[in-house]
């Protein structure tokens, strides 16, 4: 759908949206499916409305970085498949893919969600590295929140592979039931400012009409671990405060949804 930017802005100021949702409502259905791939140690497919994102977790044993010799590491990569939107082209990752990967990475890394010390096997020599790949299947808006949720679901579903004691090689075909040492569950919520109104979970049309956005990653007890501001317009201190309040409230909704759906 191509909607006039003016219509979206006019409606936003009245607290309305093109699809008759409330400004702070997520689209339905929210579907979280885990273990969708047998080649990945953990995987998830998350759908919010028509936006669908897959995330996969791979685990490998590497030499730790010199400055953190007693820790493992995490790497997050995002790929915007050309099939998922008419905007995306094949080729090296563009600015949008890099931003997406970095925002998700920062949310998980800065929350210290994964206990990196527990990933270490032999200090200075061997440690587990967690590699998360995010792939967009369909971009109908709000990739940040959906990808963040997918990464978290995949992390929660991941199980370590069996390691051969003698040779030290990893047998990826067999899994132990040891999960990744997660201490927190950061969930990111992106709040968009459209014509002065604050909006959650935008569609593609709404994403083309925003003035500013703020992605806020927060964990179980409401501690903010990371933020990312986007868009051309500035935000006032009051607006940032409002955005954080809204994001914290909405992240508890997403967290509930995540935990509820993973239990079943």
């Amino acid at each position: 759908m191509i909607a006039n930017k003016e219509t979206i802005m006019m409606l936003a100021a009245q607290g309305k949206r093109l699809d008759t949702r409330k400004l702070t409502d997520y689209r339905q259905p929210i579907v979280i499916e885990t273990n969708i791939s047998w080649t990945a140690e953990g995987s998830a497919k998350v759908q919010i409305g028509n936006t669908t994102v897959m995330a996969g977790v791979k685990l490998s044993i590497e030499k730790p970085y010199n400055d953190t010799s007693d820790q493992g590491g995490i790497m997050i990569n995002a790929e915007l498949l050309p099939l998922s939107s008419e905007e995306y082209e094949p080729g090296p990752p563009g600015i949008k893919a890099i931003e997406l990967a970095r925002v998700i990475d920062r949310g998980i890394r800065e929350a210290k969600a994964i206990d990196l010390h527990a990933l270490c096997i032999t200090p200075g020599e061997k440690a587990w590295f967690v590699i998360i790949d995010i792939i967009t299947i369909n971009d109908a808006g709000n990739l940040f929140d959906v990808a963040g949720l997918a990464a978290m679901a995949a992390l929660k579903a991941a199980r370590f592979p069996v390691v051969n004691e003698e040779t030290g090689s990893i047998d990826y075909k067999n899994r132990t039931d040891k999960p990744i040492p997660l201490t927190k569950e950061p969930i990111s919520v992106t709040v968009y400012k459209v014509n002065g109104a604050l909006m959650i979970d935008p569609t593609v049309e709404e994403e083309n009409s925003y003035e500013a956005r703020l992605t806020i990653a927060s964990d179980n007890d409401g501690t903010i671990s990371a933020m990312q501001k986007g868009g051309k317009m500035p935000l006032t201190v009051e607006e940032v405060g409002q955005m954080i309040d809204l994001a914290l409230e909405r992240s508890s909704f997403l967290r509930e949804e995540l935990n509820h759906q993973l239990k079943n």
Binding site: M1, I2, A3, N4, K5, T7, R17, L18
Partner: protein, 226 residues
């Protein structure tokens, strides 16, 4: 000798035989080869007397003189605007065809139509090289402001309009929206936000179920509660 191999409203695929013998005539999207008539496209069979036609299920819109389309301004040139027609070819809207009033030589064209604006225009000329001219100088042709624009398959435009405009006037009255359907598959809806949303869903439903019979009744039922 001649025999017809399909029924009215059958779905056929390219290369499927429709009829045998010379008594039947190949119409739109069909061809004759070795005494048989075949379909060129994926579509629905339409038998009118001896002529076999196929209504395609999908396909590109071909710009035709006299069609009313909804286009988007993509560039401002010396003497007019270039507009995107939602096809492979862009069209030119000349200054002389843009407005009833006189536009002075030194006037800023972006004040009249800016890049990104949508306009309802009529095609006035298509050359053999597919250079297209459009006009905005007739009643009902104007710049679009407000409302929303929905994209549909251009082959479904006749179904969205319905017989003598029955479908579109049904949606208009039930949702109290003003609706303009461009032949290129862009539909402009304007009204209350709720009405617009309902009209949009109704149009999408028509697009989806257009191959079924009794569509107007289905849409009436869908819109019924209002």
């Amino acid at each position: 000798m001649s025999e017809i191999l399909v029924k009215e409203r059958d779905i056929v695929i390219p290369g499927e035989a429709l009829a045998e013998g010379l008594d039947y005539l190949p119409g739109d999207n069909t061809y004759r080869e070795n005494n048989q008539i075949y379909s060129k496209v994926l579509g629905l069979v339409n038998i009118s007397g001896r002529v076999l036609k196929i209504t395609p299920l999908a396909g590109p819109y071909v710009l035709k003189v006299g069609d009313k389309i909804i286009a988007k301004v993509i560039d401002i040139a010396m003497s007019g605007w270039r507009v995107d027609t939602n096809t492979a070819y862009s069209a030119m809207l000349n200054v002389k065809d843009a407005s009833m009033r006189f536009i002075k030589k030194e006037e800023d064209l972006s004040k009249i139509l800016a890049i990104g604006d949508h306009v309802v225009v009529k095609i006035i000329n298509v050359t053999s090289q597919n250079l297209i001219d459009v006009t905005m100088k007739e009643p009902g042709l104007h710049k679009i402001s407000g409302g929303r624009i929905v994209k549909i398959n251009s082959q479904k435009v006749p179904r969205v309009i319905g017989k003598q405009g029955s479908m579109i006037s049904l949606i208009k009255t039930k949702t109290a929206c003003e609706i303009t359907v461009g032949q290129n598959g862009l539909v402009w809806i304007t009204g209350t936000p709720e009405g617009e949303f309902l009209a949009e869903r109704a149009i999408k439903l028509v697009e989806e179920k257009s191959h079924l019979e009794g569509l107007t009744d289905k849409i009436e039922k869908f819109l019924g509660g209002n």
